[in-house]
């Protein structure tokens, strides 16, 4: 069955026209607001865009890092937080989803810790890791927390949501107990797991930006925004915010592609 529409960022648009129109409307609205408000903290789109492009490779006397350096700093922290979170959440998630006793044992701790926003862990993380003088570790830690819980929860839901009859079906088709994990549990729970990772990365990204605004850090996109606002360079501040949004989109879309690839 052929499907109509254009592939843009992995979404099918039966009318790309609407997509372009929406984007243009956004730019126009922004522009009009900027002209109307006419304050330095409300630059126009072209001003922001120029600032964004330039800042990627320029430094200032105050700030030895380019925007690209800041982007890298933030992503680096997210990356490691992701690695550790997946390393722990994936095996634990499958264990909890599969075994009721494990779930009951782990549940109190998880339910209690889960609602605490990762940023709230920052003071503790600073103290814990400042002993080693290692602030990046504190950042990685809170991102780890931000990603860990959604991934865990979604994997557990994914595993528990598997229709029991599918196991029976597999057995009557010649599967042995050990085939069930690879052939049923993993593929059936993959969408849930990827959803959890997407949510987790979203949370982690927002968390690191917020964390970088605290006096603890001296680089990263969060820091960049705060710093530029302090010296009234609002065009660069908005550029930073825009960059955060762009990178967020890139990360989520990459995960969606990764999911497609895993399902082959």
């Amino acid at each position: 069955m052929a499907k109509k529409g254009w592939m843009i960022f992995g979404n099918r648009h039966e009318g790309w026209f609407l997509w372009i129109a929406g984007f243009l409307a956004f730019i126009v609205t922004w522009w009009l607001l900027a002209l109307w408000v006419d304050r330095p903290y409300r630059p126009t789109p072209p001003e922001v865009f120029i600032a964004l492009v330039e800042s990627l490779y320029t430094t200032t006397p105050r700030d030895p890092n380019t925007m690209s350096d800041h982007i890298w700093a933030s992503l680096y922290r997210v990356f490691w937080g992701l690695v550790f979170a997946l390393a722990l959440a994936i095996p634990l998630g499958y264990l909890v989803g599969y075994s009721r006793p494990v779930e009951q044992f782990v549940s109190p701790a998880v339910e209690l810790l889960r609602p605490i926003p990762p940023i709230a862990w920052l003071p503790f993380a600073i103290v814990m890791f400042s002993v080693a003088g290692d602030f990046p570790a504190a950042a990685v830690f809170i991102i780890f927390l931000g990603i860990f819980f959604p991934v865990l929860t979604n994997i557990v839901d994914g595993v528990k949501g598997i229709d029991d009859l599918l196991y029976d079906a597999a057995l009557t088709l010649g599967a042995r107990q050990r085939d069930l994990v690879r052939k049923i549990i993993l593929p059936a729970s993959l969408p849930s797991m990827m959803t959890g990772i997407r949510i987790g990365v979203g949370v982690g990204w927002m968390t690191i930006v917020a964390a970088e605004m605290t006096p603890v850090f001296s680089e990263g996109l969060g820091w960049y925004i705060w710093d530029r606002a302090e010296v009234f360079k609002y065009d660069e501040m908005w550029a930073g915010m825009l960059m955060i949004g762009i990178i967020g989109i890139i990360m989520i879309k990459s995960l969606t592609y990764a999911e497609r690839w895993l399902q082959r």
């Binding site: 229709d163 599918l166 079906a169 009557t172 088709l173 010649g174 969408p191």
Partner: protein
């Protein structure tokens, strides 16, 4: 029927379920079920709702361990579920993340068959059940009847010794149901499989079966067996058909009523 070594021998099969938390809460689903089935026979089991017919079928499949009794196929005792006892589910139980072709190839994959060979065989069975053109569709894109065809092909592709079908057309509308009944007979003619088919539709049972086995109310055992000697395809409106229907319905209704009585007085049954 050769009684020395029937193809399938079910002997004294009984299954009871005990509540783990309350050992006095026992449900007897099947009691003392005895049946011999010849190779290539199409046996249909009819019974009132809740009588234990699904449990019976699952015991024969090896999905459930009987409390007592045993099942022998070709003289060998049953040791658990396997591809030699194919199963078709009322709710289809297709793997939603796999396409039609990959659902059908599941059993072949487990055997480690290489891709080209798998494809060749799955093509055969896709033709057999009439799903050409839908090989790359996912179950959610298919109608109920089509999904059940996938279920059928998926089980048949492993060349099972016996095909177990648990109210396979129960989720389908009446017209699709009739079509699928004809399809099953067509496939049975082509493959000469031994089939044990469970239903609660008397009409369906007489239309399909070599023998109709009527079960008692819970716990299930055999109330009566009606051979159906009419040539196929059978005319549901014919007199002989109506005659057998009348007899089967009589026995079945008796058991249905007994089942209802039982519900008013909770207990273990006879």
């Amino acid at each position: 029927m050769n009684d020395d070594a029937p193809f399938i021998r079910i002997r004294n099969l009984s299954k009871s379920f005990v509540d783990k938390n309350d050992p006095t809460d026992v449900v007897h689903a099947v009691r003392d079920f005895n049946l011999a089935i010849a190779e290539g026979e199409f046996v249909v089991v009819v019974g009132p709702s809740g009588c234990g017919k699904t449990t019976l079928l699952r015991c024969i499949a090896g999905l459930v361990e009987p409390t007592r009794g045993n099942v022998h196929i070709r003289g060998r005792p049953l040791e658990g579920p396997g591809a030699e006892r194919g199963y078709v589910f009322q709710s289809f139980a297709l793997f939603p993340w796999r396409t039609v072709r990959r659902n059908i190839e599941f059993g072949l994959e487990l055997k480690g068959m290489p891709k080209e060979e798998r494809r060749r065989i799955s093509d055969e069975y896709i033709d057999l059940v009439g799903l050409q053109g839908f090989e790359d569709s996912h179950p959610r894109e298919l109608s109920g009847g089509m999904q059940q065809r996938v279920g059928l092909a998926r089980a048949l592709v492993n060349d099972p010794e016996v095909l177990l079908m648990d109210e396979p057309f129960g989720s389908l509308d009446a017209q699709t149901r009739n079509i699928m009944q004809t399809e099953v007979l067509k496939i049975w003619n082509r493959t000469h499989k031994t089939i044990i088919f469970v239903t609660h539709s008397v009409d369906e049972s007489i239309y399909l079966a070599d023998r109709v086995v009527v079960l008692t109310a819970r716990p299930a055992s055999i109330k009566a067996i009606f051979p159906v000697d009419l040539p196929r395809p059978r005319d549901r409106a014919s007199d002989p058909f109506a005659h057998i229907r009348h007899e089967v319905l009589e026995d079945l209704t008796e058991e249905v009523l007994r089942g209802i009585e039982q519900m008013d007085k909770p207990g273990e049954g006879p």
